[in-house]
Symmetry: C2
Subunit: 557 residues, 2 copies
């Protein structure tokens, strides 16, 4: 596709002429082959998880060409990105940086503002810059995936010393996931908490290093691009630096383009044991969550475990038609019981792990087992207890930071499988879990969709992830999914629950629920945004924050 | 003192008349008895730790009346503080908020900008607003001290369920310490990491709640001022909220006045054992630090332990004259050996603890003991092994979150005892620890002062705290202490080391060392500062960040 083509979508108030001049200017900075104009609807291929499009959201819950880029650029270096940012300021072109494009269920690589230029950082900027064994950290570029980092450790002979933490699917960008405050399942499951030190291109094009990275390297001895003998030694060791701790500003935000990030890795704990606990009845959720809370708070449960609804596990093993001939309506309680029985699973299944030497694991396991034993009919499994294609074998990998791709399969629950995540935060309390389950399931059923969900248990809260699987080939199914998530956001706000992250289409709605004291937070975010990005070029609308140069009302969905 | 008095110090470019009009306006908002004009040098009493002045820094390394307030105000409520902030904007008066005034060694309650109005929040706003046992957190106002929070838990019968984390001295503000990113010594030692949710008055006077606090309480059912049945339930459970995570902006900064903060508390771990490990030789520091690193990274050492130089322990038990008749010069190696021998301590002493049921503690202790046993002559102690006035008995309290005041005593090493902390961050590496020790000790000796220091071992770094004890009654001693710390900052910057926190007098110098890429960080901080505080009324100069309305060059020290 020639860089002179007319794009399918242009940013607001940008003429084709102005856009063409911008593209020509970009060609002075990056190789023409690294600029791709999105010229027609026909070229929008939804692809697969392994080949994600950078042009649009493949899980399009609205029109496929709504969240669409005008162009996709693949810079090769930090200075190339800086150059593009400077040009965007000059030509007032909105940019949408993305690491890999696998922000699956939340919009992929697609921009919030139709016609933005997607800066696909990960294609060329994909190096593991450093792995430090003594201090157990890595420094990565945007394009390093969980699978890539794991492979790097294996190839370097370090995977026995250092473990990474991975989300359910291993193909995402380590940096992208961390900036979106995603979670994994080892004791290092809170990725944001475990990052240390970033390099950021500000909307002005200037380069910032946060924390101890703001201490200069000693120019007399500088050789290694990141650390050296007599230079800054603590960038990845101590997150906070001196003065205001700014890192949080660059998470879930449009205030900078992160180009390097430090991640703490977990030293091999000296022993590991995955387990599954099956809870036979739907209502066991209540008791289980109340059992989990004190165990997790006391670090008897050392990691981020998950409590998964039967259908999420069932969907891993087959699509809806494998379980019922009638795919038009949600499964009923009897059908769910039958599936659980057939798969030898509980209505809820709890997946966790023990870390450390055997003597420690034994103490922890006896406490966990004892606590759960008060649930009638509960069953305990280690991987050796279950045969064949059982999720526990997959979780046993995830729980020790080995990336897998198997859990992609639930997306194909319906034909033309696509998905959206609805992700409210919940107290770790039986009452709250049951209420949130009831409220969300009720609406799923109203939408004619099955409830599939899981609770990931953090330090003092649960990320409740409701997986909305829909048929992207069927406008009615898309409409239902969109109605469902909008309704769930409103319902949960009524109950005092908010979401931790969301799809492009829901960013404004959710941001509007965080409206305490006449939208004090949004006004604060806008003040900071306008100060750092006066031309409003960086990711307008990201997480509901619009620069002054955009009228948010015009872009409502 | 009448509120009509002429203050000893006025802010720059503020006439006495204008100041008087400001004070009159303040009298419309807060009770006249809660306004105190600092009228003369004579009223500046250095007080004691227990009765800290709010007017100036009692550990004055420069002139006693240099870091001095024009007035001290004691608001009774959030809305009173908001009112004062609005007036400060109208009259362009710099405010310096303080929680308790015990930021000892870093400037106490004193303002960076001479003549600022100190807003002494803690006097009246000192309530524990909530303690939640199930989710293990507390919400506190600025005036709640560590000792106060502990006492609250004891009185409520909760101290057996929930532990707090305390710094060496228990009298500081929980909030103040956390905002300055102070540390304690339990597994919850990183106070900033363990905070969750804040309420902040912005420089505009507007009120912001961060994280999940931005979700409104349900007005239909609102009764409890903070949480209620159907309102926001996760403010203290999940720190990040939705969109940019802004909390860090309010730490070590002048971007807001924090009025409420949530702190995670540690559930009683079900067992505890403090220990001390004595290292006989000065150079054992090297080997000890290399032993500690993997143990800490693997959480075999579960908490923030400290490796303390002999003199810090010796100073706890007596002043310098108790050890030597010649107080004019630093103790030599032979004298240090003799003191260690006399006190039955090592040249370095390592204080830590084990947490959890006995079976777990035994596994951890055997690993720790085995690792340290490679140091020749190492000795291991539990509290029952040492008699009398031994620091281990005090640390055994601190390490389980029981506040103590005993460690104040080292400040009296010299007559008219005062102190400054020099706090560089170091790698957890024997080489780095030895080099940092050598570099800092050399300058202490050059200044004619004794090296007293400790390394607090965090997740992947050490806070090296060099305690500079000086005689505040002797201008020469003050001059030496000031020379020493300025020189140490410069020396450490040369080695690529930066400080995590500092005294008022050193804020600019340290901020200037974080100057990577032509001061990108400072320019970023200034941009944010000027956007949020266009009149520059909040804590000008705090941590080196000056608003546009001040010329930093005029206030150099």
């Amino acid at each position: 596709m020639s860089t002179g083509s007319r794009p399918l979508a242009l940013p607001p108030n940008v003429s084709h002429d102005a856009f063409s001049r911008f593209i020509s200017a970009c060609e002075e900075i990056i190789d023409r082959r690294n600029i791709h104009i999105v010229a027609s609807k026909e070229e929008l291929a939804d692809g697969s998880y392994y080949e994600p499009p950078r042009t649009h959201d493949p899980h399009h819950v609205v029109e496929q060409d709504y969240f669409v880029a005008s162009a996709v650029m693949n810079p090769r270096s930090v200075s190339e990105v800086q150059g593009l940012v400077q040009l965007a300021n000059r030509y007032r072109i909105p940019l949408w940086p993305t690491s890999i494009g696998r922000n699956s269920g939340y919009g992929g690589a697609a921009p919030r503002m139709r016609g933005s230029v997607v800066i696909d950082l990960g294609k060329h900027m994909n190096q593991v810059l450093e792995v430090n064994v003594d201090a157990a950290y890595a420094v990565v570029e945007p394009g390093v995936t969980f699978a890539g980092l794991y492979e790097y450790l294996v190839k370097s002979g370090l995977s026995d010393k250092l473990w990474i933490d991975v989300p359910d699917i291993g193909g995402g960008s380590v940096m992208g996931n961390t900036l979106e405050r995603g979670v994994g399942y080892t004791p290092y499951g809170d990725h944001w908490m475990m990052h240390c030190g970033m390099e950021v291109i500000l909307p002005s094009g200037e380069l910032l290093r946060t924390g101890m990275g703001a201490l200069p390297q000693n120019p007399r001895t500088s050789a290694h691009p990141i650390h050296e003998e007599a230079g800054n030694k603590c960038w990845q060791l101590f997150p906070y630096g001196f003065g205001p701790y700014n890192d949080g500003l660059f998470s879930q935000s449009n205030l900078g383009i992160v180009t390097k990030i430090g991640m703490w890795l977990m030293p091999n704990p000296g022993g590991f044991q995955a387990y599954q606990i099956s809870l036979p009845r739907d209502e066991d959720l209540h008791q289980a969550v109340d059992i989990i809370r004190p165990l997790r708070l006391q670090m008897i449960i050392q990691n981020v475990p998950t409590l998964r609804h039967i259908l999420l596990d069932a969907a891993m093993l087959g699509s809806k038609t494998d379980y019922t001939p009638d795919t038009e309506k949600p499964l009923n309680e009897g059908e769910l019981d039958a599936i659980a029985k057939k798969l030898n699973l509980g209505r809820w299944n709890f997946y966790g792990a023990l870390y450390g030497p055997e003597a420690i694991r034994n103490v922890l396991w006896s406490q966990i087992k004892q606590a759960f034993s008060s649930i009638k009919g509960v069953q305990f499994f280690f991987p050796e207890d279950v045969k064949g294609n059982h999720l526990l074998h997959i979780r046993a990998k995830t729980l020790q930071g080995i990336p897998t791709f198997d859990e992609l399969r639930w997306v194909d629950w319906l034909p033309n499988g696509a998905h959206l995540f609805f992700s409210p935060i919940s107290k770790i309390s039986g009452d709250d879990a049951m209420l949130q389950y009831k409220v969300t399931k009720k609406r799923c059923v109203e939408a004619g969709l099955d409830f599939m969900g899981a609770f990931a248990i953090g330090m003092r809260e649960m990320h409740h992830i409701v997986c909305i699987a829909f048929n992207r080939g069927d406008p009615e199914s898309k409409r239902k999914a969109h109605w469902l998530i909008k309704t769930l956001i409103a319902d949960c706000a009524e109950h005092g629950w908010g979401e931790y992250r969301t799809h492009l289409a829901l960013m404004d709605q959710i941001a509007e629920t965080y409206n305490w004291n006449h939208n004090a937070l949004m006004r604060f975010n806008e003040t900071v945004k306008n100060a750092l990005d006066p031309n409003g070029i960086l990711a307008p609308g990201k997480n509901g924050v619009w620069p002054a140069s955009y009228d948010r009302r015009l872009y409502k969905l």
